[in-house]
Symmetry: C2
Subunit: 177 residues, 2 copies
């Protein structure tokens, strides 16, 4: 289904380079110091394509910064979300996942392996697009979560429809580069 343009490898490579280049400026803009830890974390996040959890970012960053602490990773990822440099994705009821791609998009979640995929869903963006209010409520944002069974999991046959138990780690099909 040749996905939308922003999902292509090409696009991702350029996007990552651009964001990395601008990172220092963004930090200064927010009055935040440009520390090696922050740089390492944003790099790990930008090069991830799998919506990693904090502990996964930790593991990856540790290859270059064996001394970094898990606390710093949690703290920094939260800061990135606050300053708009990352998105927190909290699907189902497992640990939070982080997304370095801050262009507007929605997520597809496989209830079998719990992998998260990007999806463009223009219909969804149009959903409450024009409205500022919904009765007494001021609209802030509207998130769409599509629960699916991916090809891999469908072939394995289990997972009729129900929601999976928590804390089941996703299948690690291969080591990341």
């Amino acid at each position: 289904m040749g996905g939308p343009a922003f999902l292509s490898k090409q696009w991702h490579v350029r996007y990552r380079a651009q964001r990395a280049a601008e990172f220092g400026a963004y930090c200064r803009e927010q009055g935040l110091a440009v520390t090696p830890q922050r740089v390492a974390i944003i790099r790990a996040l930008l090069s991830a394509e799998d919506h990693p959890r904090a502990d996964q970012i930790y593991a990856r960053v540790r290859r270059q910064h064996p001394h970094i602490s898990l606390t710093t990773v949690y703290r920094t990822l939260e800061q990135f979300c606050e300053m708009g440099q990352a998105r927190k994705v909290t699907l189902l009821h497992e640990g939070a996942r982080y997304d370095g791609n801050i262009t507007p998009h929605h997520h597809v979640l496989c209830v079998g392996c719990q992998r998260v995929f990007d999806i463009a869903l223009p219909e969804a963006d149009r959903l409450l697009h024009d409205r500022e209010r919904l009765g007494e409520f001021v609209l802030l944002r509207c998130l769409v979560e599509v629960q699916v069974l991916c090809g891999q999991c469908r072939r394995k046959g289990q997972n009729s429809t129900g929601v999976r138990p928590r804390r089941q780690r996703p299948v690690q099909s291969a080591a990341q580069s």
Copy 2:
């Protein structure tokens, strides 16, 4: 804002009675024993109108069954979800909430007080309504989470747009009946 019909008090009273009446049959159908604990929990869930967390259900059930254990509440709520008698609602990143109303509807979440409100959103239901597949993915369900600021929180002025810290308890505006 006179919401949709299924949100009316009237509707809720009848719905609750009907569901409570059918509960025993549903259990037997699934090969589950009709224990006093299960009955108490489904009753608490059906009469709740606030999408309570497991610990809140526990507190309410304990008024009639001072001996029930928290484990049983967690376990039973999960079972209800599995057998389709309850819905698990996991917005933001706080503890799971349970919903005894299993008619299709979506949720509005106030990022200020973290209260959850029901909402009918026919546009959303139509979103992927007709499709069975999305590329390699088999569609299971599509959830829409609308993040808002409720009237109460808007008046208090805080909460520009960001996501609130976790584990902040919702305001208990009044004791429930």
